[in-house]
């Protein structure tokens, strides 16, 4: 399991109720179910991925986060997880609001467009950056609203969303992000993980 999922799993206490939005093949869900006795549900847009989840014995609803989150009642999950998908929505702000409505807390991870490799790629090659976390070409990327850790940090502050924990990930290294080291983390982390609440 990738390091990102391990970090997310560490943020969630045992026996909680969790919704994984964009749960893909259910890797994180399965880990949470087996290791932390989590009552876990998934929402996934791809039929193939939904089938993979069913084969793992996971409860998944085929659907689109932008349309289908509204069916869940307010604060019906302890945590709602959204891994590296926020930038792919037509209206990320609306999805973020929905995550925080449905979940008592939300864990949102974002691929960092401020990562030094991304900056170098654009600066020296002059083409759209391709990295491990951003593997697609400009013409086939699902990403519509790329942002940096700094952008996201400022964005949630501006929306009066409470940050419980913000973590920077660079390969296997995890470190805390705060106001004072934001510039440095924004340069050296390729992924940001935010535990938030509204």
């Amino acid at each position: 399991m990738k390091n990102e999922f391990q970090v997310i799993a560490d943020l969630i206490e045992k026996d909680k109720k969790v919704l994984d939005v964009g749960c893909a093949d259910g890797t994180l869900m399965k880990f949470l179910k087996d290791n932390k006795n989590i009552n876990i549900r998934g929402l996934e847009i791809s039929k193939e991925k939904v089938q993979e989840c069913i084969a793992k014995g996971l409860t998944v609803i085929e659907g689109n986060a932008e349309k289908d989150l509204k069916q869940f009642p307010d604060k019906s999950f302890d945590y709602v997880v959204l891994s590296q998908t926020l930038q792919a929505f037509l209206n990320p702000e609306l999805v973020l609001d929905e995550l925080l409505r449905v979940g008592k807390k939300a864990i949102v991870t974002i691929p960092n467009f401020g990562y030094w490799k991304v900056r170098f790629h654009l600066l020296f090659k002059g083409t759209m950056p391709i990295t491990k976390t951003l593997p697609d070409e400009w013409f086939n990327t699902p990403n519509l609203h790329m942002c940096t850790i700094k952008d996201f940090f400022h964005f949630i502050k501006s929306k009066d969303i409470k940050i419980f924990k913000s973590l920077a990930l660079n390969n296997l290294n995890t470190s805390i992000i705060n106001e004072s080291n934001l510039g440095v983390k924004n340069l050296f982390a390729d992924l940001g993980i935010f535990l938030i609440e509204k």
């Binding site: 039929k47 069913i54 084969a55 793992k56 014995g57 996971l58 409860t59 085929e62 069916q71 009642p73």
Partner: protein, 371 residues
């Protein structure tokens, strides 16, 4: 219509008060089982059949000598694996494969015809609940069915919220739409317009309203398929002829196919049963039973739901299945949902659709492992 041979029947002694107000008792409920009930009695699956189905789910139907209606899904090693699970299915009341219906005789030894009480989906599942007592099953492992079978699934778990661990409604709805009612009415009108129908008082196979019933079946059959599926299978292909005949014979293969579907149906189905069962479907509105709030129908169950729809099903479209998912999610129920890609229309659940069959199998087997 049917012969009594090879039909297992449970005589339900307990009086059953029907929604129409009448009470029936000592009535026959015809059923069939596949696989064996284990010693813990925790491997039973109650399958509910659709409009024209019967209790003979798989293998060779001993009355019609044709394959059972769900042979693709049910059997040894199949999605509903009879090596593992004990499958029970009964003919709905109002039906014509041995269960109490309009072709049965009233206490005065006169065939009921349209004097048979109008039955509902609720009545059907209340009658079938007696099978649990009969087999000494406290809790089913699963209940499932497609189309009208799915309606019975929803009604069953609403009536008996702790009687099944898992619940699989397929290609169904919680409320029959105006379009659904319209198609059923078309079928009923075809039957009642047949001069042989005689207000339901036909008495033998020779004088039954076969033509009307065949037309009803033909019209319904179109609604079970998709436009794309029909186009790919038949297109404008001609039936055993080089060119158009400028007449009203079956020039096109699709005409010949529908005529065939109509004619074989008449051999195995009772016209009055068709009226009764379509009426039961039309009356089905689960939300209405709970003052318009569908979620209330499921508020008392802890069962695990898995709902399946098909992309090309325009009779019970994905949105109607999703409405059930939404109602369940709004009360925090355990519900999974998948829409299967298929060009085979509403009939997809009866056919060899690998993604559907593997989803069904995986859901059942994984859930059973968690037992």
């Amino acid at each position: 219509m049917n012969t009594e041979k090879n039909i297992k029947t449970l005589i339900v002694k307990k009086p059953l008060k029907l929604d129409c107000g009448k009470t029936i008792k000592d009535f026959p409920l015809a059923y069939e089982t596949y696989g064996s009930l284990n010693s813990k009695k925790d491997n039973a699956i109650l399958v509910f059949h659709a409009l024209t189905g019967d209790q003979f789910v798989t293998g060779i139907n001993p009355v019609t000598n044709k394959e059972g209606w769900w042979s693709y899904a049910v059997g040894p090693g199949k999605a509903i694996d009879t090596n593992k699970y004990f499958v029970i299915c009964s003919n709905v009341i109002g039906g014509c494969m041995g269960s109490y219906g309009p072709s049965h005789k009233d206490p005065d030894q006169k065939i009921f015809g349209t004097n048979f009480p109008v039955i509902t989906i609720n009545d059907m599942v209340n009658a079938q609940y007696n099978l649990l007592d009969h087999f000494g099953i406290d809790k089913l492992f699963s209940i499932t069915g497609g189309s009208m079978g799915g309606m019975q699934v929803l009604q069953f778990i609403s009536n008996f919220p702790d009687k099944s661990k898992t619940v699989i409604p397929i290609a169904t709805t919680s409320s029959h739409s105006a379009q659904n009612i319209a198609f059923n009415e078309l079928g009923r009108q075809a039957i009642t317009a047949d001069s042989n129908w005689k207000d339901g008082n036909y008495t033998s196979n020779e004088t039954n309203p076969g033509k009307g019933l065949a037309v009803a079946r033909m019209a319904a059959h179109i609604t079970y398929l998709s436009k794309k599926g029909l186009q790919e299978k038949f297109g404008r292909k001609l039936q055993e002829r080089e060119d158009l005949k400028f007449g009203f014979d079956a020039d096109f293969q699709i005409e010949s196919y529908l005529r065939y579907q109509g004619s074989v149906f008449v051999d195995r189905f009772d016209a009055n049963s068709y009226l009764y069962i379509t009426r039961a479907m039309d009356y089905f509105d689960l939300a209405k039973q709970f003052k318009g709030n569908l979620s209330e129908a499921f508020i008392n169950t802890k069962a695990k739901f898995f709902i399946i729809s098909f992309t090309s099903d325009w009779l019970y479209p994905t949105q109607e299945n999703k409405d059930i998912v939404i109602a369940l999610n709004s009360i925090g129920a355990d519900v999974g949902f998948v829409e299967i890609k298929s060009d085979k229309g509403h009939d997809s659940f009866l056919l060899d659709v690998p993604d559907f069959l593997s989803a069904l199998k995986n859901f059942l087997d994984r859930s059973y492992e968690e037992n």
